[in-house]
């Protein structure tokens, strides 16, 4: 059952949150080898579930009250309240006890300190991810890789790999993730779940451990578009503690998702919807199995009333260097606070302050994080700023403008999420560039700050899931959800369960 159905069942008292929570805690325990969870507090989870059941009994429940959820460990969780550390998948923050909750965590749970009550979901624990969300395979976590439930020898994708794997393995009905360059969409695609990266500014970044501030955005990973809509409605919205938070009224995404399009019929719910296919998203290098699944899903969308139009995003390939200059530059600065002075890892032995800084940071950060800090420090350093950082930000503007040109001709843009299905753990080896190139289809929307989704579109080689990427215009999550929902009414890929789950 997805969270929408669970919410209804709990409200109808057909099952209790305590039963549900206990069952999932058991599954998490049995599936430890998956590596999806970094921390679980069973006692507090069951207490929260009991409280939720009581609230429902008092008739004070909402659509998500008592529904279990788990959070990517990039979101900080108030340690005193949750008993959960906040690590960002890094040795640097092993055991770090945050004194506050991320806004997203608070809104899905008990609510913000001075704010209205939250959605009342039950937090099961924290989910594994690439260190500081830097990676696309979850192999960069300081606490071990996550395995893909569809084939445990393969990666679940990243950086929200724990979130995708936990939802795919049915350890939790829904999870939060963050997407900086594809970190929600790509693992959702690799693990056969539905993931949504909202428009930049829709979800508050307060309490999200920063990777690249101008790109980071929180979003849901769940079993269906309907579930994503429910979760997004509860976790999004203006937050005065984030100066980049969009000042917009709360959005009822489930209602917007169901709103019939003008001229729509039951058989053709997407009547009049123009879906643009950038030719650059279907290059020769695109794996045949991925291309086939994506084409099939597009044909399905056509049957549902959508019309496909060819568009162009000429700077798609350039998005790779542009992103991998901007994101590391911001990261090199954002990670400057990890110096062993106020919290986090501090080296055991050092000669002086400089030595403490260097040993602390060299011990605390993993190889990929160090690489990106090095790239970012270099491109911002004296004499290189204009050639790299400034040039990249100008190209970023051109890439954003390319999208606006496309949206003259279409309402949504569609294509693959990744060039291949999930690869084998360790297969990419120690070649960062190879990994960077695989992000080609998710980076453009990230740079522009546009909303994007990955919707299960079928299966490719070795029976691995393939996702269809949908990209909408700014703040048009509704159209994304409408198309995804229509597709999921006509197909059952999103309901498939990995063998042995």
């Amino acid at each position: 059952m997805g969270i929408a159905a669970l919410g209804r069942a709990l409200a109808a008292r057909q099952l209790s949150s305590v039963e549900l929570t206990r069952e999932l805690l058991g599954a998490i325990e049995r599936q430890r080898d998956l590596g999806a969870f970094l921390a679980v507090d069973a006692e507090r989870a069951l207490a929260a579930a009991a409280a939720a059941d009581a609230a429902i009994a008092r008739g004070e429940g909402g659509p998500l009250t008592g529904v279990p959820v788990a959070h990517k460990d990039i979101f900080v969780t108030d340690h005193a309240r949750s008993g959960l550390p906040s690590t960002a998948g890094s040795k640097m923050l092993a055991g770090y006890a945050s004194p506050f909750d991320a806004t997203v965590v608070a809104r899905l749970g008990a609510g913000e300190p001075a704010g209205p009550p939250g959605a009342g979901m039950v937090t099961l624990g924290k989910l594994n991810c690439d260190e500081f969300a830097m990676g696309s395979s979850n192999e960069n976590s300081a606490f071990g890789a996550v395995r893909n439930p569809w084939d445990r020898s393969r990666v679940p994708g990243g950086s929200s790999g724990g979130s995708a794997a936990a939802v795919a393995a049915r350890l939790v009905p829904a999870a939060t993730g963050t997407d900086t360059g594809g970190s929600i969409r790509q693992p959702a695609s690799f693990s056969g779940v539905t993931g949504l990266k909202p428009t930049y500014g829709v979800c508050s970044r307060w309490g999200m451990i920063a990777f690249a501030s101008s790109l980071d955005q929180a979003g849901p990973l769940a079993r269906s578009a309907e579930d994503c809509a429910l979760l997004l409605a509860a976790m999004s919205g203006f937050d005065e503690r984030d100066a980049t938070s969009a000042e917009r009224p709360p959005q009822d995404y489930p209602a917007l998702m169901r709103q019939p399009r003008p001229g729509a019929t039951a058989a053709r719910p997407l009547q009049g919807l123009r879906i643009g296919l950038p030719k650059e998203f279907f290059p020769a290098g695109l794996a045949a199995d991925v291309a086939a699944a994506v084409r099939a899903a597009l044909a399905e969308l056509e049957k549902l009333g959508a019309t496909l139009v060819e568009v162009s995003l000429p700077r798609t390939e350039l998005a790779i260097p542009v992103y991998y200059l901007i994101a590391p530059a911001e990261a090199s600065s954002n990670l400057g606070r990890f110096d062993g002075v106020r919290y986090g890892h501090r080296a055991a032995q050092y000669d002086d302050l400089l030595d403490m800084y260097k040993k602390t940071r060299s011990e605390g950060f993993g190889p990929e994080v160090k690489r990106r800090i090095m790239i970012g420090t270099y491109v911002l350093s004296h004499g290189y700023y204009d050639a790299y950082y400034l040039q990249a930000q100008k190209l970023r503007r051109m890439i954003a403008d390319d999208f606006q040109a496309c949206f003259q001709a279409c309402d949504l843009i569609a294509g693959p999420v990744a060039p291949t299905v999930a690869w084998k753990i360790g297969e990419q080896g120690d070649d960062p560039v190879k990994n960077y190139l695989a992000d080609i289809f998710t980076l453009p929307a990230s740079l522009a700050g546009l909303p994007g989704m990955s919707v299960p579109a079928g299966f490719g080689e070795h029976g691995m899931p393939v996702g269809l990427q949908l990209i909408g215009n700014y703040f048009d999550e509704a159209t994304l959800l409408q198309a995804a929902h229509a597709l999921q009414q006509a197909t059952d890929f999103h309901t498939r369960v990995p063998a042995g789950v």
Binding site: I209, R241, S333, L335, R337, H382
Partner: protein, 484 residues
Amino acid sequence: MPASPLVRGYEVVIGFETHTQLSTASKIFSGAGTAFGAAPNTQACAVDLALPGTLPVLNRGAVERAIRFGVAVGAKVAPQSIFARKNYFYPDLPKGYQISQYEIPVVQGGRVEFLLDGAPRSVRLTRAHLEEDAGKSLHEGYSGATGIDLNRAGTPLLEIVSEPDMRSSAEAVAYARALHALVVWLDICDGNMQEGSFRCDANVSVRKPGAAYGTRREIKNLNSFRFLQQAIDIEVQWQIDRLEDGLAVEQATVLFDPDAGETRAMRSKEDAHDYRYFPDPDLPPLVIEPEWVERVRAAMPELPAAMAARFQQADGLSADAGAAMTQSLAFARCYEALRDACGQPRLAANWLMSQVSKRLNDSGLSIQAMPVTVPSLAGLIRRVADGTVSGSGARQVFDALWAAPGGEVDALIESMGLRQMSDAGALQALVDEVLAAHPKSVAEFRAGKERAFNALVGQVMKASAGKANPAQAGELLRQRLAEG
């Protein structure tokens, strides 16, 4: 502009960077308090400590104060300015970067005007930008370790940068005093230099007249005007010695050690040369509409320069007196009250500049704390004006009023026997007595000895026990002597 004074044949060139703590209730990017002297790290919230997941949100009060300053110095208030990150590692810098303004500051240009030895001077400002203060490092008493207190971290600063327009330590101090007076006048800074609310960095270089600028050294954290002048004088001598010895002056940041009386180069902060500035992605551009600037302009108090000019024109004060009366808003308000109460602007200004200022300095009191009330001082000044009491007599009354506030002026003049004799009849009688009693002097005067006349005046004063008005006495003597 007068030729700049030379030191040992060198021209001194001075520019300033002044860190002004803005008097907001909360920090520039967080809701923590800014009160001075709280227990360590009790006023450093999650944002100030740069805990993972925290974000900055800009304080409107800090921007408002920056605008007030910009308008006051006739600068351009940027319609759009950018916050940038200045990246470096230091224990008192929690984020590993300082949020500051780099390419586009909020205040651009402007000038500070002041008097130097009575002559008007003007120093151009390059810019003034908003930034956050760092924490404090305590080096004493932690068994070889350094303790970090981040209460000050995130306190709003307006860094005011001047052009290298100053040519002597005296001019530098005059500029610093004028700037200090202005920010306090504008009520954007409490001006408390002991607590670090107003910190000056002086960029000092020397050159032969007409030569290109010499290499400058920056004297950091000068927090008193006295140290400011000493430090610059010492630094200037040091640089000239180097050059005279044929050595070069290397660019450096130096600290002033008042005890050793020397400026010492700081152990240079690691790679201070590569701050990797870039626009802060957490903070979109700061937009200030003209309407906001106009609202601030409309609410602006009359500025010291304008008020001084008004006092010169309307009250006939000298430039120096005008400047002295506007040394602070409180002083100006006191002058206006006193002037209105006694109707003698020039006398009021003279009393405030001489007796009152001297007494205030001796007792370390501010004008607000003056024990002598404005009404009684006004009463005393009126008595000086109408000749009831002499200047020296009035000073005695003032001292008495200072020692025992609340005394009644006329009563004191009487009880202290300081009333001048103004009754012409009585004085006439005294004069006749003196003339009768000193025929010798009279004869000498008649013989043309002017000294004898002075002696006679002295006799009249003596006979009147000092209460006679000397001028009046002289007049009557001449009349009588002329008659007979």
